[in-house]
């Protein structure tokens, strides 16, 4: 689960604006253990100053902050032309809060309490946003997906997929090597905003995996315990 920066060697700088010292400490310890370079700001205004002066690859901003609230901070940064991706953290989980968070210029929204893997997966997703969506053929290891003919091949073996399986695999193939949590998949693939009580995503992934990874073949769709799934080829 290591994250390599987009251009290889350079380290990834994260700005964390969070006033709860316990949570800030936990998050920065987790990020540092993954070789991120973390700067913590404990107030909104300190965070804004850092965001405007420092060079960051991604920002994590809590909504409720002393001096300047998180949403105003993000709005100010965006007004001044800052395009750094922002993950909004909040104890407010209501749908409206989420919408407001995204409207203010946040790129993703995570409700407290969250699992650390969820946070890491989302930061990774923000850092590696698929930039070229005009590609018509996706390739990951032996897998080839033709978005125009809507066909999928593993080496020469044609894989028959239902439309929903195709959609899911396309999402995975656009983010190879990236950890995708269940919540992310539900939100992005099915446009679902709530947590179903059953293991829906696991069943969908299981079905897809049986078609993609035939017996004897190298496993491409991996489950990551306690976190989610990833599509990765060892080649």
């Amino acid at each position: 689960m290591t994250v390599t920066s987009l251009d290889g060697a350079e380290e990834i700088r994260v700005l964390l604006v969070e006033d709860d010292t316990d949570i800030a400490e936990e998050i920065s310890a987790e990020l540092k253990s993954r070789d991120f370079c973390v700067t913590v700001a404990e107030t909104g205004s300190a965070g804004l100053e850092q965001a405007l002066t420092g060079q960051y690859n991604v920002m994590i901003v809590d909504r409720m902050l002393p001096e300047l609230d998180g949403l105003s901070l993000i709005e100010t940064v965006r007004q001044k032309g800052g395009r750094t991706p922002v993950l909004v953290l909040s104890a407010l989980g209501a749908v409206d809060d989420r919408v407001n968070g995204l409207k203010a210029g946040g790129d993703d929204y995570l409700t407290k309490p969250f699992a650390m893997v969820e946070l890491i997966a989302r930061i990774e997703a923000l850092l590696r946003r698929p930039d070229d969506t005009r590609q018509t053929i996706l390739r990951v290891g032996p897998l080839t997906m033709d978005l125009i003919d809507r066909t999928v091949k593993r080496d020469d073996r044609e894989i028959e997929l239902l439309p929903r399986e195709f959609r899911l695999l396309e999402y995975l193939m656009r983010r190879p090597g990236q950890i995708l949590t269940r919540a992310m998949l539900l939100e992005e693939v099915w446009n679902y905003r709530f947590t179903p009580q059953t293991n829906l995503v696991d069943v969908h992934i299981g079905k897809l995996r049986r078609k993609v990874d035939a017996p004897g073949e190298q496993t491409l769709i991996h489950s990551i315990r306690g976190a989610g799934f990833t599509l990765q080829s060892s080649d």
Binding site: V95, T111, P163, W190, Q197, L200, G206
Partner: protein, 469 residues
């Protein structure tokens, strides 16, 4: 001190509401009597006028039909009964108003021989003036026949009526005052009783109810409404209390497990291996996650219940909604060995709603249906119309819900005895109910296959009449 206060209170009440009501009653009574008397009075007058007119005209017609000699004889001698009884004055005059025959010797002032009735006040030399009704007409031989009828009968009747009215007025007003005070006293006593009951309730005795009498009057109906409202409030308070207890219990159980697990890991007899510790921590996180999911569901419920805005409402195609749900849940139904069908009519059916909430609602219903249906069963979700109402039905072949449990399953944290072993927050159906309340939709719970042992359950979501259909 208290007694004095009470007395002054009672006096004040007498001075105000009770007495005012009594007085108003008496005044209303008085008004009625006055109206009645004046109506009787005018009716009597007009009746008597009409009658005297008819009598005079009739008599005149009879007399004019006689020969002049016979007429003169009749008038002079007052020879007919009618002339004696109903006509008080009669006389024959020349065209220049000189008396010829009859006891009326002078031409009444202002009388015109035009065949019409004239009221003329006579002023005799002795006695008070009186009114006579006269009718004068020309006879065939050029004379004038005058007939007069006294109105003294009417005057006497009027006088009697006036006297009677004045005499009866006093006891009637007195009676009205008494009755009014008594009636208002009765009504106000009931208001006072209600007032006292409300005071008791306000002091915290929520079981107290307004006194219920036997009469079906407005006051009683009001008391009934208030009592029903109190019943509902009491029920809500009970629910809230039990929800509080349920939340505490549902959170306590996993938290207790976390505590026990961690405590044992920390102070157990021998140190645990890293792997065992990891397992303990994972279990702890799992239990904490359950707590969070309960809290999240509760907050979500509150959010939906409190949201008045329907800003996110739009035209939602029910078939597309069902398609999405089937798409999402089909694999899981398949892995549970359950047949999952979605049925939509060809005609497009749309409602006004919030897609995310409706998906969440259907997701909960389908989730439930799959959870409670054994392998080999069937879950069916269908869209159709009943009358002008679009509806969605989610049916399964599971354990079913007893009729007496159907209301309860929608309340928070309710879990039927049969489903205790199946995991869940117990909030799914309350969430469904809240979402449907927001959409003004109705939720009905029916047997999916009545009469069969595996009767299953059918959740029927009936939307309000839609403009989009």
């Amino acid at each position: 001190m208290l007694k004095k206060l009470l007395q002054s209170d009672r006096l004040a009440l007498f001075r105000t509401a009770r007495f005012k009501l009594g007085l108003a009653f008496a005044l209303a009574m008085l008004g009625t009597i006055v109206v009645q008397f004046s109506l009787t009075y005018t009716q009597m007058t007009s009746f008597e006028f009409r009658r005297s007119g008819q009598v005079l005209n009739g008599e005149m017609k009879l007399l004019l039909a006689m020969t002049p000699e016979h007429l003169e004889y009749v008038i002079r001698e007052r020879a007919t009964d009618d002339l004696r009884l109903v006509v008080n004055e009669a006389g024959i005059f020349t065209a220049s108003h000189q008396p010829i025959a009859g006891e009326l010797r002078t031409w009444p002032d202002g009388l015109v021989a035009d065949g019409k009735l004239h009221n003329i006040v006579m002023e005799p030399e002795e006695g008070s003036p009186y009114t006579l009704r006269f009718l004068a007409a020309r006879t065939p031989d050029g004379h004038i026949l005058v007939l007069g009828r006294s109105l003294h009968v009417l005057d006497e009747q009027k006088l009697m009526l006036r006297h009677a009215s004045l005499v009866t007025l006093v006891p009637i007003v007195f009676f009205a005052l008494l009755a009014g005070t008594w009636l208002s006293h009765r009504a106000l006593t009931r208001v006072k009783e209600m007032h006292e009951a409300v005071d008791l309730i306000m002091q915290g005795d929520i079981h107290e109810r307004l006194p219920a009498g036997t009469q079906q009057d407005e006051l009683q109906r009001l008391a009934g409404s208030v009592n029903r409202m109190l019943d509902r409030l009491e029920q809500l308070m009970r629910d809230m209390r039990s929800v509080g207890n349920d939340i505490a219990h549902d959170l306590r159980t996993p938290l207790a497990r976390v505590r026990v697990g961690l405590e044992r890991a920390l102070s157990g007899p021998q140190a645990l291996s890293a792997e065992d510790l990891r397992a303990v921590i994972e279990r702890a996180i799992g239990n904490l996650d359950q707590c969070f999911s309960i809290i999240t569901a509760l907050l979500r419920l509150t959010e939906i219940d409190n949201s008045k805005g329907r800003a996110a409402f739009a035209k939602i195609d029910l078939a597309a909604l069902v398609y999405d749900i089937v798409d999402l849940y089909e694999p899981i139904a398949e892995s549970e060995g359950i047949e999952f069908l979605g049925l939509c009519p060809e005609k497009k059916i749309s409602v006004n709603g919030d897609r995310d909430l409706l998906i969440e609602m259907l997701g909960n219903l389908v989730d439930n249906a799959i959870k409670f249906t054994p392998a080999g069963g069937r879950v069916r979700i269908s869209v159709s119309m009943t009358g002008h109402h679009p509806f969605i039905a989610v049916e399964d072949t599971g354990i079913g819900i007893q009729p007496d449990e159907r209301q309860a399953v929608l309340s928070r944290f309710y879990r039927s005895d049969k489903s205790r072993h199946i995991p869940g927050s117990g909030l799914g159906l309350s969430l469904v109910a809240s979402i449907l309340r927001l959409h003004n939709a109705e939720l009905k719970i029916l047997d999916a296959q009545p009469g069969r042992p595996e009767k299953g359950v059918c959740f029927l979501v009936i939307f309000p009449v839609s403009d989009f259909v």
